[in-house]
Symmetry: C2
Subunit: 472 residues, 2 copies
């Protein structure tokens, strides 16, 4: 490795990144390339000889940037808007430079122990009970898979680890119709199958109906199913609705089911003392996932899985070949034992840098401001007879649609889609959509650390203008 | 985000990293901290207020570095030695700064299309057949899980996705006794269970015995099992043995089984024209995993899964909620459909930067040198009557042990363990161990981009010195 070149080009790259982050509004939020266009701009064969770093970095501007959808852009309001803050980016740089594999305690004690330190800090910030064990996974999909694998392992008499599922009891788990697809995906992977997930209806505010849950469990038991887990969501992806976790926890306790809480997005709001109640009931969960890469200014990826039952995760996953046995096995955790992947990046480092650089108050201030901006946008929608809100907004997402009086529902859907396309084509804002009650609904999600009131105002202006045009 | 602080502290951090990478030999390879010691050096509560970046970066040196096992150290010979090269580190920095989620084509076309470009480059470099579909996963454990989930989905009439495994045929898969634990872990996760994996004996060179495989499949069919997949390994973790893939592929073709090849480490050697034969037979595999983060100078994590049957991966994993449907779904792949995780970091960027900066020849030169150094070390072991080699060395790993004439096997094991501890305590080299035929065996793995002949020579001197002391 030529360290001089690394240093010199590293400085150039840092300057380039600084400029990029300072000029984000120059770029269209949503990439304008067509399928296949980016690929065609690259050679179809690998380079035979190495090339100097400066030439490669020039191509970043020329070939990479035009194909980006700029998640950093303050006008990014789609999906869940996420942010890589400065300390998070530097933490990722440092982790790449250290390049440790934290599979065993021994293979870098600080990777394992800083994970324990930061996840306990985060637990305190969220107001979760002491004694929870935390482990970092890459995404919420992985965290939920691991949690539900543990739930499966916990079924008395099943011994899924050793015996697998063939010839066993028919397992069933539950989540609301609005739960994230990762719950269903975990079911596919775990061999429970789509039929092993029963989707529970929601109320008018898109929250799981606990009475329907209790009924479903009873029906399933009578029909010969073995219920084993419920996933409740704090902040669903479509509308950020909050399932009634205290009531669901009671049902799980009564029925002996594992309660997993998906607070991947919504959990972050509990950093605000005045919003801590969003995690009410979660102290009774067997496991809970919360993603610092969503609304906590940590670069993707970093998902945290908390559990009261680490020994069950271990029972589900631990396999230690001879070549990975160490004298410290009995006294220090080896985090490879708590998930699918053996290799583990030093993800805790960026979380540590973000938590220290912002502090609890700095993080709370930004989340509070995002919630304020969403409430402001919602007030504009509510005040405009040309629009309507489509769901409650417990966090920083607003679901809404334009009204087209006299149009059929289908025609209204088409016009809302056209409106969305028009706004997204502006390059100044990017929103995404969902379906609520079968109707196309627009979503404005605030979570980007660079989003200011003027960006929300601009999105609103673009939406109104496009609606006016759509109404002809 | 305060961009000025980012820029200023980023430059300082880069200078610090440059110095760190230039002075690695100042540090002990293996961390010297005791369990709990690192954790105790951090506050037990999160900071209330934010702190300036310079203070945090000072703590990197003070609190983080002493707890690191330095995978970058040229004397790191444990497990598989890996390297984050300069272009790889800068690629990771850039990916963190862009912070895109490549779940959909639309959410950053270049994330999806550069993945296709670089994985096709890599395919050509490895001499694999055209038309293979590649997708990046985090680690080989995830790649193997995804491959075996696809194999399960491909079982005729099973419909595992919809129906799960309960009440279905008893599935069985095969891998050698020396296969990586990730194969067994995939079985646990997929609901196949440990009983659903049959471990096939190996020959004297630790390679799967294909006749034993064929017999096992026949026996299992007669006993009512449904064989469905075989995992063959090119470069096992313990000894880097190479299963006879051409013969295994023939058996799989005859029996209608999915062939997955674990070439996570060994595949990299196929970049050398003279070593391309290590992947002989792999053109017939249904899937193959190869990890650029192992021996291709890309920072952890980046694992590549190739398959001839992407439609089966999709059938096993794709779930598209309304809010993620896009008009491009029919014409451009959404890579979230080919694995567990919905969120996807822009990992292809660092691979692109490494492949361009080194070129095929630059990569081949370094791998060739690693193989040469391993052969040199092996020749020293062979020439010294105080030592013996314990397995063939088809790549850059040497398995060996010290001989203690007159000692019982158990005593010999203990003395080899003591010898290993003594060498590792030196701080100048770090080797790991395995068990071969029940006997403790030392492993010297060469893969670090900074390892030179003098480091291998120093490790050998330390080993001989420790053996002399151990013989007292």
């Amino acid at each position: 490795m030529d360290l001089q070149a690394f240093q010199k080009e590293g400085h150039r790259l840092l300057d380039w990144i600084t400029r990029y982050l300072g000029e984000l509004e120059r770029y269209p939020v949503l990439a304008r390339s067509k399928p296949g266009q980016v690929r065609a701009s690259f050679p179809s064969s690998p380079p035979g000889e190495g090339e100097p770093l400066p030439r490669i970095l020039e191509d970043v501007e020329r070939l990479i940037v035009p194909g980006l959808t700029h998640w950093n852009h303050p006008g990014f309001f789609a999906y869940f808007s996420i942010s890589a803050s400065a300390p998070g980016i530097l933490g990722e740089l440092l982790a790449a430079a250290f390049n440790v594999n934290g599979m065993l305690w021994k293979t870098s004690p600080v990777a394992t122990e800083l994970e324990a330190v930061t996840l306990d800090w985060l637990r305190q910030m969220l107001g979760l009970p002491p004694g929870l064990f935390g482990v970092i996974q890459d995404t919420a999909s992985a965290s939920t898979l691991v949690a539900l694998a543990a739930a499966r392992e916990a079924v008395p008499g099943l011994e899924a680890r050793r015996r697998g599922l063939v010839g066993q009891a028919r397992l069933r788990m539950y989540a609301s119709e609005e739960a994230h697809s990762s719950v269903e995906k975990a079911g596919l992977v775990l061999g429970i199958g789509q039929e092993g997930l029963r989707k529970i209806p929601v109320d008018g505010a898109f929250r799981m109906d606990p009475a329907a849950l209790a009924r479903a469990i009873g029906e399933d038991r009578r029909a010969g199913w073995t219920p084993f887990a419920v996933t409740a969501t704090v902040g669903t992806t479509s509308t950020t609705s909050i399932d009634p976790v205290p009531r669901v926890a009671e049902i799980c306790a009564g029925e002996g089911l594992w309660l997993h809480v998906d607070a991947a997005y919504g959990g972050a709001a509990a950093v605000l003392p005045e919003r801590r109640s969003v995690l009410a009931g979660c102290e009774r969960a067997d496991s809970l996932v919360m993603n610092p890469h969503k609304w906590l200014f940590v670069p993707i990826d970093l998902s945290v899985l908390y559990t009261r039952k680490p020994e069950v995760l271990r029972a589900a996953f631990s396999l230690v070949p001879d070549y990975l046995r160490t004298p410290e096995d009995a006294v220090a955790p080896n985090l490879m034992d708590y998930g699918v992947s053996l290799g583990r990046r030093f993800r805790a480092l960026k979380l540590w840098m973000v938590l220290r650089a912002f502090g609890q108050e700095g993080i709370a201030d930004r989340i509070r401001e995002h919630i304020r901006l969403a409430a402001l946008f919602r007030s504009w929608v509510e005040a405009d007879p040309g629009f309507e809100v489509a769901a409650p907004s417990p966090f920083s997402l607003v679901c809404f649609r334009a009204r087209f009086p006299g149009a059929t529902p289908e025609e209204g859907d088409r016009r809302n889609e056209a409106l969305l396309d028009a706004v997204n084509a502006s390059g100044e804002a990017y929103l995404s959509h969902t379906k609520l009650g079968g109707r196309t609904t627009l979503r404005l999600a605030i979570g980007n650390i660079r989003t200011e009131e003027r960006h929300v105002r601009r999105a609103w202006d673009l939406l109104r203008e496009a609606a006016r045009t759509g109404r002809g």
